[in-house]
């Protein structure tokens, strides 16, 4: 019974984790779209179609101050490396919006 309970716990975790982990990453990435609109050409660069590695390198450079910025340095400093990695991955995985 004990092993069954352990198995049950694993299955439940495996089933529950993706659903729960997905929402915050997507939500964090959606934060960026208010300024970086995928629908417009504006003075603010779009992020659509940029590889995750490029985005993450930029975000980390903003975060550690090695890349000059007006505002992105102040924003990137609010997130951990892991969060920035997840955001970059999510943004890179995005195609067109509904």
């Amino acid at each position: 019974m004990r092993s069954l309970a352990a198995f049950m716990a694993l299955v439940v975790m495996a089933a529950a984790l993706p659903a729960r982990a997905e929402a915050p990453v997507r939500l964090m990435a959606e934060t960026c779209l208010a300024c970086h609109s995928p629908e417009l050409h504006s003075t603010i660069p779009t992020l659509a179609g940029r590889p995750a590695g490029d985005l993450l390198r930029l975000l980390l450079a903003f975060r550690d101050g090695s890349r000059a910025a007006t505002i992105m340095d102040r924003i990137a400093k609010g997130y951990s490396r892991e969060e920035l990695g997840a955001i970059a991955g999510e943004l890179a995985g995005k195609g067109e919006r509904p």
Binding site: L4, P18, E30, S37, S42, I71, I75, G78, Y79, R97
Partner: protein, 423 residues
Amino acid sequence: MTGRLSRRALLGGATALLAAPALAAGPRGARVVIVGGGFGGATAARYLRRAMPELRITLVEPNRVHVTCPGSNAVIGGLEPLSRLEHGYDRLRSRFGIEVVHDAAVAIEGERRRVRLGGGAEIAYDRLIVSPGIDLRWNEIEGYGEAAALTMPHAWKAGEQTALLRRRLEAVEDGGVVIIAAPGNPFRCPPGPYERAGLIAWHLSRTRKGCKVLILDAKDSFSKQALFQEGWKALYGDMIEWVSGASNGRVVRVNAAEGWVETDFDRFTPALANIIPPQGAGRIAVAAGLAEAGGFCPVDPATFESRRIPGIHVIGDSCIAGEMPKSASSANNQAKIAAAAVAASLAGQGFASVKAINVCYSLLAPDYGISVAGVYDVADGRRAGVAGSGGVSPLGADAHARKTEAEYAVGWYAGICADAWGG
């Protein structure tokens, strides 16, 4: 045998759990109603649709066109026409399948989960998102009621009032003094009165001689203060004067018919008075019992669900969001969070708290922009700035940096409006 049965039951359960994300398509018949079609409500509608393609979403908004407050100081200063600030609801309807009802929500029954409209109809909801912006507190400044606002515009809700303040400004002659009365905290758009001072000065400095902008403030400090004061000096010399609350700046009384404005010790009779009165949550939020004594609505900082009535989320200027300012940017991000929390709740899923951001640009002149940014996490039951992040543009930056931020301000406006109303 027992084990096998359990295992089969278990696998059935696991299948159900694995299928759970599909439920995000929306339980049959679920309906979410959103009250208010500004930055908060429009963004919430759009992102709810993204999360739940099958959900019935109804947006209740009395006006057929929303006129944004962001950008309205540029209209007052003569940089843009008012029409640039207008956003309709056609794309929310056609592209995103949102039912838009042009009526006012006049009552909310939290226990029956119903919203009553001014026209008499009732709409049932499973979850309600309330984003009604602010209501002005008339007569808190003695003599400043709705009639007085026709002579001394507030222009703190964009539209007619913005156009009126622009017209009145155009009538100011050489040597005229323009007074801006700025309210105490909390209020909509903390840098707004000071951006307005700069853009009024920009207009007057180009078209008139010897004018002055006098800010009479209820506060002793304000958003991006050092940056504003540095820029005003550089651009307009001594044309803009700021009087703090401690220096007797708080306006306590006005007489619109006679054209005067009083603090405790002084009376001014300016060419034009722009009175920005104290504010509270939008009327429907107060009527529904969502607001506390201070006038705004306490919420769970992770989900923006009301602390007073379950099943209702309050976002934007009406809610108490800790250190997040009352801004379009805050409302937009809170809307995304509330939409995700509502979708998770309808799908029977958990919801993890997520960081939120605010970005506000202010113009001091068409090619002179400054910004404030913040990242806010949930800590000790409230939204607080993440240590080491956020802050304002640097003091002493060169003209190129200010011009770049002015250009980004334009991009910010275009982007956030597309994000809310669908481009």
